[in-house]
Symmetry: C2
């Protein structure tokens, strides 16, 4: 890396001042070249980032994957001009690339994403960078015992997001002295003043009440910034630097002016702004190096010793057994749960790897955020709660896909079959939600042995994978030796050529379908039952073959709303493959469920064996 020689005589503050000037100029230059972006949100934080980059961040831009590196997350991702100006100042990108900002084909997207090697996670949905950074810090302290520090630039507007307080709370609770939040209190949001404007004491009081140290400073006083960052790094507690700043700082016609959020300067305005700032050719600045440190070597991973089931077991319990087996076999697997680990059975992981279990309490957003953070530093997270409550974290899951994160989610208590607890606890939209995540894998096993194999496979999957589990015990259909490839399906009844209807089911409805098959067989009607355990990718070819062989007659039965789940997946698959003359009955939950026994609720929803048999008969009538 080319590093400019800085005069030995130049003071530390002069260096910071020079860097801040360049960061401001480059933030304006790249956004003006793009014709869009957030220069004023970058200018408010330029002094903070200049001092951090040149004085405190320990980061080897040539080796971004080095585990000793500090982490810097822009939770206020719209300050991307400043991110890229910083990369330019560190010598990581050149000026020509800087000016590709927001252009098609450029790595410098409107909001930062990890297609750049120096970006840990995508930000741009506010309130996420802080809890993700806390997750990295948690892994750094408790798992890696690493020397790195996590720095997070937080906007003032985003402190309205509850997830910010989930992050503060966790770091306070865990006593993470290796994380620093730098709050850029520039008073102005997108459409006007923030709630607390420049009431930095109010911010500090809130943050302190969540167990952090808080230092209130003038965010444009380089000396105060330097001192605060130094104190934060050496503190024994998580520290917030509450920096009073001015939006648009450094350019007279932008400073603290409303109406400038998310607007690039035109060429004439930029010229004037650069003249005020004192534009000089962009150059590279030296960034402190990380210490020579390597993590302790881990024991080699082994194949997990999966439990073998013969008696009925709940798939949620089989999930717990499987992650426990993974915990024993693989040192990189970590497990998180949102205070329901005795229901999801995530608690079983504590038997084999108690140090790698993380209680997230009832805060699903931070659970997903911490999972994303932990995979940044090489861990393989599994995170679980009731499937219904994963809806709470949908924005985090969506963003995790943009972060190219590899995380595994488990949702228990799916569908009306949970019984008495009622609809608030029943996941009936999770398949739709998780299918509509880019690159996701959606699994829904029906027995213990299948669950074991699928959970083991998830450990090696890329992207966002999801497993839906069932509350009640279900019979064992498969042998422990059976394999369940991702994207596959299983014919669990029929297939001999004399069956006349295909029933596609998954999870709990596989068992109802088999009961229906038994009942129908008594009247001479043979059906084929397919276990579509891989909802995405779906085995559309296998299902299409079966449907063709059964005269186009197909029943899809799912414990889920009719929209976006297995039914939509099967039908789209069949039509996309050109299966003609499809005659469909789609059994799904169409009315709002109530409380009751699982069997009562399956019957009320029209998902019971008798309903499946009736649908088959209707197709044959």
């Amino acid at each position: 890396m080319t590093v400019a020689t800085v005069s030995e005589a130049a003071t530390r503050l002069d260096l910071y001042r020079s860097l801040a000037r360049q960061l401001r100029a480059d933030s304006i230059r790249c956004s003006t070249a793009a014709g869009s972006g957030h220069p004023t949100s970058s200018l408010s934080a330029a002094d903070l980032i200049a001092v951090l980059l040149a004085g405190h961040l320990r980061y080897d831009f040539d080796r971004p994957d080095t585990l000793a590196n500090d982490h810097l997350i822009f939770s206020k991702g719209h300050a991307s001009p400043l991110v890229y100006a910083m990369f330019r100042a560190a010598g990581a990108i050149d000026d020509a690339e800087l000016l590709t900002f927001r252009k098609f084909g450029s790595r410098l997207e409107g909001h930062p994403t990890p297609i750049l090697p120096w970006v840990d996670v995508a930000t741009g949905s506010l309130g996420q960078g802080l809890p993700i950074g806390v997750g990295i810090a948690l892994a750094g302290k408790r798992l890696l015992k690493a020397p790195f520090h996590v720095w997070i630039l937080v906007g003032d507007s985003e402190s309205a997001e509850g997830s910010i307080w989930e992050g503060f709370d966790l770091a306070g609770h865990e006593g993470l002295e290796n994380v620093t939040a730098i709050l850029d209190i520039n008073r102005l949001g997108q459409r006007g003043p923030t709630e607390l404007e420049w009431n930095t004491d109010a911010y500090a009081a809130r943050i302190r009440s969540f167990g952090w140290d808080a230092i209130v400073i003038d965010g444009h006083d380089l000396s105060q910034i330097d001192s605060a960052l130094g104190r934060a790094r050496s503190s024994s507690r998580p520290t917030a630097i509450v920096a009073r700043t001015v939006k648009g700082k450094g350019v007279s016609f932008l400073e603290d002016k409303p109406g400038w959020h998310g607007k690039a300067l035109d060429a004439e305005q930029a010229k004037q702004a650069l003249a005020e700032i004192g534009d000089e050719p962009s150059r590279a600045f030296e960034v402190p190096s990380p210490p020579a440190w390597r993590p302790a070597p881990r024991p080699a991973a082994k194949a997990p010793d999966l439990k073998r089931y013969t008696d009925p077991v709940a798939t949620r319990k089989a999930y717990g057994d499987a992650i426990a087996a993974l915990g024993a076999a693989r040192p990189d697997v970590v497990v998180l749960d949102a205070e329901v680990s005795n229901s999801t059975h995530a608690e079983d992981f504590k038997k084999t790897a108690p140090d790698r279990f993380f209680e997230m309490y009832i805060a699903e957003q931070r659970m997903v955020a911490v999972a994303v953070g932990m995979q940044v530093v090489g861990f393989v997270p599994f995170a679980s709660t009731f499937a219904a409550f994963l809806t709470r974290a949908y924005d985090f899951i969506r963003m995790a896909a943009i972060s190219r994160a590899d995380i595994r989610l488990s949702g228990s208590h799916a569908g009306v079959s949970i019984g008495e607890d009622g609809p608030s606890q029943m996941a009936l939209e999770d398949l739709a939600m998780m299918r509509a995540v880019h690159g996701s894998t959606v699994l829904y096993p029906c027995d213990g042995n299948q669950t074991a194999k699928l959970v083991a496979a998830m450990a090696d999957l890329r992207g966002i994978s999801y497993i839906r589990t069932t509350r009640a015990n279900t019979p064992v259909l498969y042998r422990p030796e059976d394999e369940f490839p991702i994207g596959g399906s299983r014919v669990v009844r029929g297939g001999d050529g004399d069956d006349r209807v295909t029933v596609v089911a998954a999870g709990i409805t596989v068992h109802e379908s088999l009961k229906a098959a038994d009942d129908l067989a008594k009247t001479g009607v043979k059906i084929r039952v397919i276990d579509a355990y891989s909802v995405k990718p779906l085995d559309a070819k296998g299902i299409a073959k079966a449907v063709r062989e059964t005269g186009g007659r197909v029943v899809v039965v799912e414990d889920h709303w009719p929209e976006g789940g297995l039914g939509d997946a099967v039908v789209s698959g069949l039509v996309s493959l050109g299966v003609k003359d499809v005659a469909l009955r789609h059994l799904a939950v169409r009315d709002m469920p109530t409380s009751g026994k699982p069997a009562e609720l399956l019957e009320a929803a029209g998902l019971a064996a008798r309903d499946i048999a009736a649908a088959v008969r209707a197709l044959l009538a």
Copy 2:
């Protein structure tokens, strides 16, 4: 209502004690009869609720819709045995119904829902009752100027949810003296101790930092409770009562014991518990009456004077114009936005009804929560943000459906067509997410006049309705006089019988499809283009007719992931209606988008006119 005569000589505290005893006994009786439920979580709060019910809550159980009534929300909805025991004590239900708890067909579901007239909203997904209650209080203070007070029972575990702090923050910011949060600090969560256990001072410090008064009490000292509730009602600030309680209080073998969460006592255990409590036959207690008060009469509603468009306009702008027209015409319409009202154009509402615009800042969960709260007291809320950020509130939207709430959501900046801001700001899963909400309506207009009509229709829709709007200006296709019924569609090109392929589009892709039709027409290929503006309910019949008439050939093109959106809806509709020989091309966003110009991104995603034309030609090849 039957009200037991209480001896004139009995002291207030004796009355409370007697009621608390009954609430405890009935919480155990009903959950034991059910064989499931959360008796210990009810016992910890029984004293708090006894004093509230008999001494402070002003509520006419015979007239639950009276606007003068106080509101009581169990944010910890799993304490439903206590809810129903309270209804029994108020004489609203009888003992026989109490014992139907959690049984199939009973109104007394596992978690409370508004199928009971005394329940405002469904709870059971933790962290929601508080912000919803704050929404009711906000409407009470700023809109109705009503005398009612909102009381919210909050669990300690749920304070880990960020949405709780979004609620505290809003009430503090708005200075809502008409809301009281009663925190039941019983130290034990589902699987073990809470983060803060009995550190009531830490709770109080956090809550105070968000602008509330906080009173720390012994939650089993009836006199302290009485005094605190009185002070809370008369306070000039929102007040939290931080009550140290004991889980399972009143039953020796349950008190502060782990392992009892969500477990009913068996018959023998219940017998012993009731003996300790001192069970007596359940009776009715007098509840204070609400004051004689009626809201100020409102001007009569008129038909909105919708804007008429001839020049290109963004549908998000037409949304703003339409809600402004509704604001002028209807006194019951309220608008909320999550700090992006200059982008969603919700700010236009301020021109006609500034008093009914509510800034929620960047906190989408509380935005939906407040919308739910406001419809509890008769308002017609529209809430908006970028469509991508509605994912943040999915759990609240899901629960709103269980609450039978009527709310309207607007999501702007849908799809890759937003351009330079990149994927974090692009909604690509919103159609899937919103389709999979029970009873939802999902609309996606393509021009200004259509948007105006659909927004006006939303004001009268029941349930959860959603409109997806586009960032860029789009041409005007329709006349202001045109009507767009919910569940309808429009043929915007072809339909004369000589067209050979149907293209189903919505929103931005309607315009690309029309360009494709123009290009194809030059080569003699005629197509039919359908504007499926009503994604749910979909006009499956109309689309099926078109597809049949074009030989089964259909292209679906959507600015959305392939899963769960328009494509799935169309295909499921066609197959359900028995359309045979469907030949489909489904154009959707299949790779992670980047930044770029809208046209570049539509082309990169394969959604541009040339791609549609190519798909048509492929079907005809």
